[in-house]
């Protein structure tokens, strides 16, 4: 199996191989385990760089497609491929895993072997979700992700980790089993129309459902995706899971896992169910839920006393922008949503990493315990400021590009949506600045903070790539936009032609 022919398989399974190697190392050799895990994550990132080298922005459809029969009885195949939408998410996932693994070096003391194994397993699961072109395969990976995440939270998490892990698990599980029913309805409809049983999403796109059936499938899929995103009111698992998870868990959760939901909308709901997706009633409901999510997440963030929980709730707000963009159903909205997925991964990932750094030093996340950190950790404070501004959507940083494009798309779809979503930006600045003020500025009030040391070399290595990417996207997003321009245009075109058909 040569690397160039099966690039995606290599990307997908390199973490699994790394996991196997980690498992071979004797449990006592903690440092060796760490080194192996870091090398493994680095290698998997390097392998994924092969995609960067060879990805063609202008090629139509999916690239690097691999197909192998898997379960012919079901019509399920092992079929992988990327387009501009998934390409970016794949890169984000490998990068974030690399950084998460590196960030865990000193914070994970208990059972590091199992920990890194879970983290690498998680990476394979998430990559599988983004790479699958087969609905069945997709579902298998989708579910498989839950297990390592559950353990990451439940073993290495905070005080209420068991509760949080269970809540996360049950909540997302409930959503995804209902989604499975939706997949099956679609699958069966295709089978009864063509006589071919297949989960291939390209083929499923040819299925013509009745509008009512499309709506049914849409809502069923919606539940799975909405819980994952999470959209209001399915978000309550998120603050608990994020707060209790270990740093790397939060980073992966916010950075990559949540994207599975929005990716689901982009990859499946919109292209497969165009007439339900443009249904005025559905769009209204989803847009309103998104806007509520934006404002609600921001408002609740204002009130948090826990540093991490604040960041967690801000995710609800930010992901609200993503779904708002998606259901604006125009090029700007969708494009902005794709970009904002990446942006959120970067800025929130960075914020969680930074919280983790301070948590490792102080073992508390209560905001009131801090204050005046900038006096002791000026570099940390600077990086935190950048992360915060990126999250708050300040121009020249990545967040702005995404949010602005999304809002513009929303405005085109319905000016009122934009009008109601914009206050989210104001509130975003409010809670983040307040957080910054309470933690970084002022005099040091807690004597325990006197001894804090600034970022060390490893921590710099963890944060710098994200900071650089944040600036890159903020200043020159074109390379990113170019990758997904075509697939987004295809989706929009499909929606438009459906619209035109419906008119006729």
């Amino acid at each position: 199996m040569s690397m160039s022919e099966h690039l995606l398989s290599w990307i997908l399974f390199t973490p699994l191989l790394a996991m196997a190697v980690v498992l071979v190392v004797p449990a006592g050799q903690k440092n060796l385990i760490r080194i192996v895990a870091n090398i493994g994550a680095l290698v998997s990132f390097l392998v994924s760089l092969g995609l960067v080298a060879r990805f063609d922005n202008h090629a139509p459809g999916f690239q690097f497609v691999e197909r192998a029969t898997w379960i012919p009885a079901l019509g399920a195949n092992y079929s992988l491929g990327v387009d501009g939408i998934s390409y970016l998410l794949v890169m984000l996932t490998t990068l974030l895993t690399l950084l998460s693994v590196l960030a865990s070096w000193s914070s994970i003391v208990d059972r590091p072997k199992a920990y890194y194994a879970m983290l690498l397993l998680l990476e394979t699961g998430i990559l599988g979700v983004f790479l699958s072109l087969d609905f069945f395969l997709f579902y298998v990976f989708w579910e498989a992700v839950l297990i390592p995440m559950y353990f990451l939270i439940a073993i290495w998490g905070g005080e209420r980790r068991l509760y949080a892990a269970m809540k996360f698990f049950l909540y997302t599980m409930a959503g995804s089993v209902v989604m499975l029913i939706g997949i099956l309805v679609l699958y069966f409809a295709h089978a009864s129309q063509t006589g071919v049983r297949t989960f291939d999403i390209v083929q499923l796109m040819q299925t013509h459902l009745t509008p009512a059936a499309e709506r049914t499938v849409f809502w069923l899929l919606f539940l799975g995706f909405a819980v994952k995103v999470p959209m209001f009111p399915f978000h309550t698992w998120l603050p608990d899971a994020h707060t209790e998870a270990p740093t790397a868990g939060s980073v992966m959760l916010a950075g990559a896992l949540l994207k599975m939901g929005s990716y689901g909308f982009l990859r499946f709901s919109l292209p497969l169910l165009p007439s339900a997706s443009i249904d005025a009633g559905i769009v209204q409901i989803l847009a309103h839920l998104s806007i509520i999510g934006i404002l609600y997440g921001a408002l609740v963030s204002l009130m948090q006393k826990d540093w991490k929980k604040l960041v967690a709730y801000s995710s609800v707000s930010h992901m609200g922008f993503v779904t708002l963009g998606i259901f604006s159903l125009n090029t700007k909205g969708l494009g902005g949503a794709v970009l904002q997925q990446i942006n959120h991964g970067i800025s929130t990932g960075l914020l969680f990493l930074l919280v983790g750094i301070i948590y490792e030093r102080r073992h508390t996340r209560e905001i009131s315990q801090f204050g005046g950190i900038a006096n002791r950790m000026p570099n940390y404070a600077t990086v935190f400021a950048i992360a915060m501004l990126s999250s708050a959507g300040l121009p020249l940083l990545n967040g702005f590009v995404g949010e602005f494009t999304i809002l513009q798309g929303a405005f085109e779809a319905n000016p009122w949506w934009a009008a109601f979503a914009v206050p989210g930006i104001v509130l975003g600045a409010a809670y983040l600045l307040w957080l910054y003020q309470r933690t970084m500025l002022g005099e040091i009030t807690n004597s325990k903070n006197e001894q804090l040391t600034d970022l060390n070399l490893r921590e710099w290595a963890v944060v710098l790539p994200l900071v650089a990417t944040a600036f890159w996207i903020g200043l020159y997003p074109k390379p990113f936009v170019d990758t997904f321009e075509k697939p987004v245009a295809q989706i929009v075109e499909r929606l438009h032609s459906t619209h035109a058909e419906a008119r006729r």
């Binding site: 809540k167 909540y171 009111p233 978000h235 309550t236 603050p239 609600y296 408002l299 609740v300 204002l302 009130m303 700007k332 494009g335 005046g372 900038a374 006096n375 600077t382 501004l389 300040l394 121009p395 020249l396 702005f400 590009v401 602005f404 494009t405 809002l407 513009q408 405005f411 085109e412 000016p415 934009a418 009008a419 914009v422 206050p423 930006i425 104001v426 509130l427 600045a429 409010a430 809670y431 600045l433 307040w434 003020q437 309470r438 970084m440 500025l441 002022g442 005099e443 200043l475 020159y476 997003p477 074109k478 936009v481």
Partner: protein
């Protein structure tokens, strides 16, 4: 050189990068050279570019940033004026600051931020489209946040910084929506060159109103002006540069830049001049009763910005820019002078503790006097011409605005000279031995004073210079102009005279004093509604709940937001989460019957079997 205009902002950015990243390692003497040096380089480049362009618009596009939005720079007469003001006055203030900040810690950080500010400000004025302008707009807000909060371990500074940023953000929300409206009008383009040939309509009106909302935030107009006086927590050079000469005028610049839109939205324009006039008089009355020297100047700034909007609102955009320019000179000078006084008195800012400093700080006194004359509108000084032009156009278009403007002119003269009298004349009311500031600080004062006197004579040239960009409606009625001029001169001298006699009075406004002293209760209203208000008042009843609200309430998250936020959390725990819990409970609950039947008695099991069969048979009969 015209093609190098993109370098103009980049030079200060380079300075900022060097200072912020390497500053800790650099010797102070080098910082003193680097920081003003970059600005001066930018100034020279600007000067060269402006001279080469000769007033012809020139665009440089670097690359596409967002779809249909470029990193593009536009050098036209309007931005020429702005970049010269920014780099020129910016340079002077930098020089001044090297002296003023000599004893402060974090020297490199301060100048890094200051350079960063200049970078963003130049982006703002050089942008060829709204989005890039907005980027600069937000950037200056950020730099302002950093600079106000420069003394970051001073809590009031942190609060003020945050307040400024948040009030700006409220305006920004309007700005963003305004941009979308514009994009909808121009088929997606947000470049200024595509603004021509628009037609009036509700969308355009909305665009105008929303953009103006942005301007009220940045330029401290009603109802969002309360942040500016608090921003005086920052070091004085910051106040001079950001909160007087440049950033706060960004709103005026933006309105002028959008004159193509505003000229088609008369209702909005009228509203702008009304808001400008109201802000002007309101801020002037507040300025009359302040005792903090910097706060007087802060409210004066708000008031003067009101004048600029008055002009913009009546369609005299070039006048607004003219006043912007003169104001930049005299207000920067005033702030720097005040800074010099504070510096001389080792940080004292209360005017009631000053007095008689004329002899001890002669340069400061004389330069400030020139500026005070200028702002009061004494003939021959910069402010005189620009203010007269404003009043003239207001008279032509909007009589009541004119009336308010005239009164405000008198009030302006009063509070400014009240400041002068309290500070420099009379008895010395402090024990501190004041000293004149060093040359690096006084030299900029002198240059600015010359500017105050000098630049005013080029009004006509400025009008012609700006003609291609800004619509100006000439009025040939020279006679009327002279009458009005006389009226305003009269108002100015009245104000100065009154100040001479009533400067020590605490209630120069009579019944209005209390109102003015409480800043027209605006802060209290915000406080009441958003910050703590109801919570505090209801505190007696609400007991411990109250403490939790106060806990963070003062820090700016308002009661309303706090309330909604609390409600959200409540909903989160009890309604949304509750559903999950109910599911959990109901599972427990539902398992109860199953458990009750599972008694362990074999016969009860048999009974269930029999009952089930009976039910199944019953089903048959029912059917």
């Amino acid at each position: 050189m015209v093609n190098l205009i993109w370098l103009i902002p980049l030079i200060p950015l380079g300075g900022a990068a060097v200072l912020l990243l390497l500053g800790r390692m650099l010797p102070k003497s080098l910082i003193k050279v680097v920081a003003p040096g970059t600005i001066f380089a930018a100034f020279l480049l600007s000067l060269g570019a402006v001279m080469e362009s000769g007033g012809k618009p020139h665009e440089v596009v670097l690359y596409e940033w967002l779809p249909k939005v470029d990193w593009g720079f536009l050098l036209d007469p309007l931005s020429s004026v702005m970049i010269l003001i920014i780099t020129g006055i910016g340079f002077l203030i930098h020089v001044y600051a090297t002296g003023y900040m000599d004893h402060e810690g974090g020297y490199y950080r301060f100048f890094g931020y200051l350079n960063l500010f200049v970078f963003f400000m130049l982006i703002l004025v050089l942008a060829n489209n709204y989005v890039l302008l907005f980027a600069g707009w937000e950037g200056v807000g950020l730099a302002s946040y950093l600079l106000i909060g420069f003394y970051f371990n001073k809590k009031s500074a942190g609060d003020a910084a945050k307040k400024a940023f948040l009030f700006n953000r409220v305006g920004d929300a309007g700005f963003i929506l305004g941009m979308f409206c514009v994009a909808a009008l121009t088929h997606g383009s947000l470049a200024f060159r595509d603004l021509h040939g628009l037609t009036a309509g509700p969308l355009l009106t909305a665009a105008a109103a929303l953009l103006f909302l942005g301007a009220t935030g940045k330029s401290a107009q009603l109802p969002l002006f309360v942040w500016l006086p608090d921003a005086m927590e920052g070091p004085t050079p910051v106040s001079a540069l950001i909160h007087a000469a440049t950033m706060v005028t960004a709103g005026v610049y933006m309105v002028a830049r959008s004159s193509a839109i505003y000229s088609l939205a008369p209702e909005v324009s009228a509203a702008i001049s009304c808001i400008g006039a109201t802000t002007a008089i309101m801020a002037a009355t507040i300025a009359m009763v302040q005792t903090d020297i910097k706060r007087v100047l802060a409210y004066s700034t708000v008031s003067q910005l009101g004048f600029m909007f008055m002009a913009a609102g009546v369609g005299a955009y070039w006048v607004a820019v003219f006043h912007l320019m003169t104001h930049a000179f005299f207000k920067a000078l005033l702030f720097l002078g005040a800074g010099s006084v504070i510096h001389g008195l080792h940080g004292e800012q209360d005017m009631l503790k000053m007095g008689g400093l004329r002899s001890e700080m002669p340069i400061t006194f004389w330069t400030m006097a020139i500026a005070a004359l200028a702002i009061a509108g004494v003939p021959g000084m910069a402010g005189f011409f620009s203010k007269d032009e404003i009043l003239f156009y207001a008279y032509l278009n909007f009589k009541s605005v004119f009336a308010v403007g005239l009164i405000t002119a008198a009030l302006t003269a009063f509070y400014m000279w009240r400041l002068m009298f309290l500070t420099f004349f009379g008895e010395k009311r402090t024990l501190v031995h004041a000293h004149e500031s060093p040359l690096v600080m006084t030299a900029p004062l002198i240059v600015l004073a010359l500017g105050c006197g000098g630049c005013s004579y080029y009004a006509a040239q400025l009008e012609r210079w700006l003609e291609p960009v800004l619509h100006s409606n000439h009025s040939p009625d020279i006679g009327l102009k002279h009458v009005l001029m006389a009226a305003s001169v009269f108002a100015a001298f009245t104000g100065i005279l009154l100040a001479r006699y009533f400067h020590a009075s605490t209630g120069p406004l009579g019944p209005l004093t209390k109102l003015a002293q409480h800043k027209w209760y605006l802060d209290d209203i915000y406080d009441f509604v958003f910050v703590r208000g109801l919570g505090m008042r209801g505190g007696e009843y609400l007991g411990s709940f109250d403490r939790r609200i106060l806990d963070g309430g003062i820090n700016g998250a308002g009661l309303v937001t706090r309330f909604v936020s609390r409600a959200s959390i409540w909903a989160d725990t009890w309604i949304v989460d509750g559903l999950v819990r109910i599911a959990g409970f109901s599972a427990m609950f539902a398992s109860l019957p199953a458990r009750i039947v599972q008694t362990g008695f074999v016969q009860s099991y048999a009974l269930v079997i029999v009952a089930a069969i009976a039910a199944a048979l019953g089903l048959f009969w029912v059917k």
